[in-house]
Assembly symmetry: C2
Homo-oligomer: 147 residues x 2
């Protein structure tokens, strides 16, 4: 449970975040297309990819990803919304099959409607499969030392 | 070269993004502390870690990271600023020693001053060491298939 009641904007952003994962999980490209903002800037960092910039490039990537009929199940866990006026970001855990990832999703309020404008997902160490709400990794790959 | 001239806010955000990497590279905790916003929300996702939430937890992580005197050199390449009113996000490549990472840095305008409020860095495949501005990975670890 959250310590404070959510504002209507926070609820709207969390709802849109859920719809993003619904579109992802059901491979619904039309819904995915509605969720992303109609205007630039639009950006996306898929796990292990460098940044995709611009709506056309980002949506083309989703078209490819959602056309993969062998994709495993997708769930969003522990979403936390951080509201900053007409923008917000959500941090959450993604469970994709047996992989755990961490994600940042950036949203923008445009003429009264919230849209997704940036998604960045990256892998978590394997132990996070079992303990997705752990506060940090045990640094199995040594990245903690440099960063 | 960028196709359009930058606005003063875009220049201010890029300058702050540079100072963030300067603080990181020179292990200057005081500068790092100035760069991060004075008020919540503050969040940070170090490579392979789950999300750190709140200023205290985030700054404690930087205190630990910057105290590592064996840390390799750090450079920021190809920063791109995306302005959304009183918020902005920068996407860029980080070169840490011989590792290449991709980063999202979220900034907020607070009483006329820009601050960093969220940092998410994640590893790129090894080929990105050589071609940091490539548009995407060749998916050596198969994550592209699921995401």
């Amino acid at each position: 449970m959250e310590p404070q009641e959510k504002t209507s904007h926070e609820r709207a952003v969390l709802s849109l975040n859920s719809r993003f994962y619904q579109a992802f999980a059901t491979r619904d490209f039309e819904l995915m297309d509605e969720i992303w903002g109609p205007s630039e800037p639009i950006a996306c960092i898929h796990p292990g990819w460098t940044t995709l910039l611009g709506r056309n490039e980002v949506m083309a990537s989703w078209k490819g990803i959602l056309s993969n009929t062998k994709a495993p199940s997708i769930k969003c866990l522990s979403p936390k919304v951080h509201l900053l006026g007409p923008m917000a970001f959500v941090t959450c855990i993604e469970l994709i099959g047996e992989l755990a990832l961490t994600a940042t999703n950036v949203f923008r309020l445009e003429e009264g409607t919230w849209y997704l404008v940036h998604h960045h997902a990256s892998p978590l160490p394997s132990y996070a499969k079992v303990v997705p709400d752990a506060s940090k990794s045990s640094d199995p790959d040594g990245t903690k030392m440099v960063h």
